[in-house]
């Protein structure tokens, strides 16, 4: 296979990771909302933890984006 074509394919495959992070972020906010509606009084105190979970889930998707960008522009 042509090296350039392999790079582009790899960058496209890395985009799967971004979609996976979408699942993770959706899970974080979905679970929070589910339990926040059961106990709205306790929801406000957990917002810090909500965003920690969001940041952790999002970072892994952003790493997939970095892989794609490195393949496209650096490698």
């Amino acid at each position: 296979m042509d090296a350039n074509a392999a790079k582009l394919l790899g960058a496209g495959l890395a985009a799967i990771g971004v979609g996976m992070a979408a699942l993770g972020v959706g899970n974080v906010f979905g679970s929070f909302l589910e339990s926040a509606l059961r106990n709205p009084a306790a929801a406000d105190g957990q917002q810090g933890r909500l965003f920690i979970g969001f940041a952790a889930a999002e970072l892994l998707g952003l790493l997939a984006f970095v892989v794609a960008m490195i393949l496209l522009f650096v490698a």
Partner: protein, 262 residues
């Protein structure tokens, strides 16, 4: 944006160019005043003006003072819940960090290209976010070692872990601790870079569609792209605020580790 060639070049906006003093040098290193420096100065000026307008300490605060006090109270509240009373003395640092990142993100989104300017998002450079992350990390290390001495290393052995498990846990915790500045800096940099690339690509679709020879292309390609771009821009405003918040929040959590250990 290279409209005339029709090819979208989304990475051009991140180029750092010298504006003044291309040949200024110290020890062989260029110290030219770049567009990055200009936008950092603008960010600093905006934060300064914002704070100046709200620090009149009137007994009955006006709108501006309420806005400034709202931001300050937000950061102080975050430190109180995450660190406790000992976290108050880090409020100036975390507040400056939060305001700088927030204003830099927002100013990078301003459509100054409409009046002929070249917009530049300061936080889309790993050098800048990396230095901010290293600053937070060094403060954590300095505070941790100054407060607890070598006892600080007990941070890497969670309470209740004994014997052979501690031998396994220690390197894992150590590596995860050492990865913190990278993840902190990378998150902000990539989130802003990705957002700006996305907006640039969509804007390229709109302009290329309008410039195309076939008449049907403009309503079919440009109009949906424009509507999508409107939504993405709103999303990016949200991301700009969330990333500033996450940076400040994670900094306060890491400070909590250094101050209270476990």
């Amino acid at each position: 944006m290279s409209a005339e060639s029709g090819k979208i070049d989304p990475m051009h906006q991140f180029l750092i160019q010298p504006l003044v003093g291309e040949h200024w040098q110290i020890a062989g290193q260029s110290i030219a005043f770049t567009n990055s420096a200009l936008w950092m100065a603008l960010t600093f000026g905006a934060v300064w003006l914002f704070m100046l307008g709200g620090m009149k300490r009137e007994l009955v605060p006006g709108r501006w003072q309420v806005a400034v006090e709202g931001f300050a109270g937000f950061v102080t509240n975050m430190l109180d819940t995450n660190i406790g009373p000992k976290g108050r003395k880090f409020a100036p640092y975390v507040f400056s960090l939060f305001m700088f990142i927030l204003f830099a993100n927002f100013i990078g989104m301003f459509p100054v290209a409409l009046v002929g300017g070249h917009p530049f998002a300061v936080t889309s450079q790993l050098t800048i976010t990396g230095v901010l992350a290293l600053l937070s990390f060094s403060i954590v290390l300095i505070v941790g070692f100054a407060k607890h001495g070598l006892h600080f290393f007990s941070l890497f052995v969670p309470s209740g872990v004994k014997g052979p498990m501690a031998v396994i846990i220690f390197p894992i915790e150590l590596i995860s601790f050492l990865m913190r500045p990278f993840s902190l800096g990378l998150r902000l940099f990539v989130a802003i870079t990705a957002g700006h690339i996305l907006m640039e690509v969509l804007a390229g679709f709109v302009i290329n569609g309008l410039n195309s020879d076939a008449l049907w292309v403009a309503p079919v390609v440009s109009l949906p792209s424009f509507i999508l771009m409107f939504g993405v821009t709103l999303l990016e405003i949200l991301v700009a605020a969330i990333q500033a918040y996450v940076f400040a929040l994670l900094t306060s959590l890491y400070l909590n580790d250094a101050i209270n250990l476990h």
